[in-house]
């Protein structure tokens, strides 16, 4: 049940998906991997949308070079754990939700525990090895994964439902080389909010998701395209077979 102040807080979006949709958001538990350029807008918008429980994981501390894009962190947070800095801003933004922020490196030994109990995994990482790990855990646990990644003015996103859609390794069998990537804050802003929008739609059962579609954002020419992607036969992560 929604509290009276929740009905008021969410009144404009209850117009869209009803109190039932809002209650679904309240019951939802979302795991956000990363509190950086993507993770900050994702977490903020999911918090104010009323996602009942957000688990946010990031191993880093706030550095001045982060501040052009990681919009939950401030000059006064320099040196603070990103998990703690983000947690404080999210609590302030919406005191009615539960926020669990952990300073940890996501690896093979803890990914299962970190994802446990989540209805949804949101990929806000900055590297493909950890993304592949999240993808494998999504496939193992059956929890959907919302992928996003950025560089410069460019970004990509897709929504993965284990057993139903192409998985991350079907679409990207090979990781691009690692680098210190150039980026302007608006790019993770755009892609992060597309991911948050996918999360809200998935939870409320609204609209059409980015299923078997890879979205490409080109901020320099202001174009957005989606391409069809398919399960890849023999995919080492998901086997490429469609579940009945």
């Amino acid at each position: 049940m929604l509290l009276e102040r929740e009905r008021e807080r969410y009144s404009r979006q209850i117009l869209l998906f009803g109190e039932e949709g809002q209650e679904r958001l309240k019951k939802a538990k979302v795991f956000i991997a990363g509190a950086g350029g993507l993770g900050c807008p994702i977490a903020l918008y999911l918090a104010v949308a009323g996602i009942g429980e957000i688990r946010l994981v990031d191993r880093d501390t706030v550095d001045r070079t982060n501040l052009n894009r990681q919009v939950l962190h401030r000059e006064s947070d320099l040196g603070e754990l990103k998990a703690r800095s983000a947690e404080a801003k999210l609590r302030e933004a919406n005191p009615d939700i539960r926020v669990e922020a952990l300073a940890a490196t996501i690896d093979e030994t803890n990914v299962r525990d970190l994802v446990a109990g989540a209805d949804l995994i949101v990929d806000a990482m900055d590297n493909f090895p950890t993304r592949y790990l999240l993808n494998r855990e999504a496939l193992r646990s059956g929890v959907p994964l919302i992928h996003g990644a950025i560089r410069g003015f460019d970004g990509q996103a897709t929504t993965i439902i284990p057993g139903r859609t192409a998985c991350l390794e079907c679409i990207f069998p090979e990781a691009p080389p690692g680098e210190v990537f150039p980026v302007v804050g608006t790019t993770p802003g755009v892609i992060g909010l597309i991911q948050a929008n996918e999360a809200i739609k998935y939870i409320t059962g609204t609209g059409d998701l980015l299923l078997n579609r890879l979205l490409l954002w080109d901020g320099l020419s202001t174009t957005l395209e989606t391409f069809a992607v398919e399960r890849r036969p023999g995919c080492p992560a998901c086997g490429g077979e469609v579940r009945p």
Partner: protein, 90 residues
């Protein structure tokens, strides 16, 4: 025949955003890649390796669907090929 090629992200800066490439009738993806290799010239390192093969992480699409770089299907007049590198940052 003409094939349209759209490049995204860094590849757009190297190849241009929207190209029309002339390939012989009956050509496959290999002919398009050879034309792109010529076009990229010295800047092609981001796209092709030292042997001239497409780098492993590069994504190719034909008419909105992902295809394998070794795909031997014959292209058709007006086909649209998209080429881009996945981005990895967050």
């Amino acid at each position: 025949m003409k094939v349209r090629v759209k490049a995204f992200a860094r590849f757009r800066e190297i190849l241009g955003s929207d190209l029309s490439i002339e390939v012989p009738d009956g050509a496959t993806m290999a002919a398009v890649l050879a034309a792109l290799r010529d076009r990229a010239g010295g800047e092609g390192d981001a796209i092709f390796d030292e042997t001239g093969a497409l780098r492993a992480h590069v994504i190719l699409m034909r008419n909105g669907r992902r295809v394998n770089r070794n795909n031997l299907d014959t292209l058709a007049e007006g086909d649209e090929v998209a080429i881009f590198p996945p981005v990895a940052g967050g």
